[in-house]
Structure formats: structure tokens, C-alpha cells
């Protein structure tokens, strides 16, 4: 028995912060999803209404916010796989810290590939005068 309190899988240290981030990103994605179902439903109203609203997704400010959203989805999805492995794989909890850093590395790498392309699309759309 340890004499001082130490971290457990979900208490203190890496495992807890992985969980906190999973929770925050899950909530953020949920609220975006509510808006996203509604804005997509505009295709049923009229092509013009849809195009007008979807144009806001192409503005620089929202365009940058989308990077945050993609980062949140990447983390939540990849860490979700980590959670599933902890629950179902016999060695899962032994390697949970290593798996956390693998999740971070994969998310950062994917974002690094996606971000330049996305920013280029947003900025060129702006310099062409939008629409």
C-alpha cells in the first residue's frame, strides 16, 4: 500500500486530464451538432437560404474556429478509442498513459496536415471576395 495518495486511472495525473478533455470536447461537439443539424436542414427550405448561411462558415473568424472544432473531434474520437481499449483490452490500463500520448501525437499530426490546407481555402475565399 502506498503511504501517500497517488493517482489512479481516473484520479489525478494523466488519466484524469485525459478524461477532463474528453468531457469538454464532447460537450463542445454536442452543441455544435445541434446547430449543424439546423443549418443543414435549410437545404429543404431553399438553395438560397442554405448558401447564405453556409457562407458564414467560410469567413476568416468562423474558419479559424473550425480548426478548434476539428481539433476537438480529433481528440474526442481518438481518445474514445483509448477509453474503449482501457475497458476491453487486458493490457489497456497498463498502457493508458502511453496511449494518451499516442492520441495527442496523432491528433497534432492530423491537425498539422489539415490546418494549412483549410486556412488556405478560407483565406483565398476571402481574397476572391467571398460567396
Amino acid at each position: 500500500m502506498p503511504t501517500k495518495p497517488t493517482g489512479t486511472l481516473y484520479r489525478g495525473k494523466t488519466g484524469m486530464w485525459a478524461w477532463v478533455l474528453h468531457r469538454i470536447t464532447g460537450v463542445a461537439i454536442f452543441f455544435f451538432l445541434l446547430v449543424h443539424v439546423l443549418d443543414t436542414a435549410l437545404v429543404r427550405l431553399s438553395p438560397e437560404a442554405y448558401n447564405e448561411v453556409i457562407a458564414t462558415y467560410k469567413t476568416p473568424v468562423i474558419g479559424f474556429a473550425e480548426l478548434g472544432l476539428v481539433a476537438a473531434v480529433l481528440y474526442h474520437g481518438l481518445n474514445g478509442v483509448r477509453v474503449i481499449l482501457i475497458d476491453f483490452w487486458s493490457k489497456g490500463s497498463k498502457y493508458q498513459v502511453a496511449m494518451f500520448w499516442i492520441v495527442i501525437a496523432l491528433a497534432v499530426t492530423t491537425l498539422a496536415i489539415f490546418a494549412p490546407r483549410h486556412i488556405a481555402n478560407v483565406l483565398s475565399h476571402m481574397s476572391e471576395g467571398g460567396h
Partner: protein, 144 residues
Amino acid sequence: MVTIETPRSPRSRKSANREKLAWLFMRASGVILIVLVFGHLYINLFTGEGIKAIDFAFVAGKWADPFWQVWDTAMLWLALIHGTNGMRTLVNDYSERERTRKILNTSLWTVCILLVILGTLVTTTFDPCPDTSVVDALPQFCNK
């Protein structure tokens, strides 16, 4: 010293089995959502001109193919139910009064059901060539 109730005791025996199903659903839907959501982001934001190319004609082009109709409808259901059930966990964790907890959870599932219905109507009754529209907002294949 704060005493905390034994966390493993369920609210009631009856709901214990439901909680296990919910727990399993979060994991099963998570595995499928990885494919559906990552694929969705890859096709819509990464290939071609990404966000720049998205407009009515783009969506119409995708939903002219039953493959993407099925993809998007499955993603809609799974993401909404997974997200709502996840939010239910948070409400159960943080709400202090039983009444607040009930009201919040009922609201969550009401919104979930309404959006599942709305979204499903959109993906299944979609018309790529509505004749009420100005022609140049439509995809090219509509031109008479």
C-alpha cells in the same frame, strides 16, 4: 470529512441493466462514429477545395447518391443519441436537485428526438432540383 454514498449502488435495480446497455452503446456507437465522422470531415473539409466548395449544389451532388444518404442518416442518429446520452451523464454528475436533473434530462431527449426527426426528413425527402429556385443556385444536372 465528507461521506459519499457508495458509487456502485445504482439508483434502482431496474435501471442498472439499462445503464449497462447505455455504457455499451457509447462504445459501440463510438467505434462506428470514428469512421462516419472522420470520413465526413475528410471528404467535406479536406478533399477538393474543402469548406470553400460547400454549397447547395455540393450537398445535392452528395445526396444524389444513396450511399451518402445512408452514411449521413446513420451519422445523424448515432451522433445525436451518443451526444445526448453523454450529456445525460454530465447532468447526472452535476445536477444537485432531483427535479433539476429530471427537467434537464427530459429536455435533452426532447431536443434529440426532434432533431433526429428533422434531420431524417431532410436526408430522405431531399429534392436536388426544387423548381421554386433561381436556376444558378442548382447543381448543373438540373438544367433543363
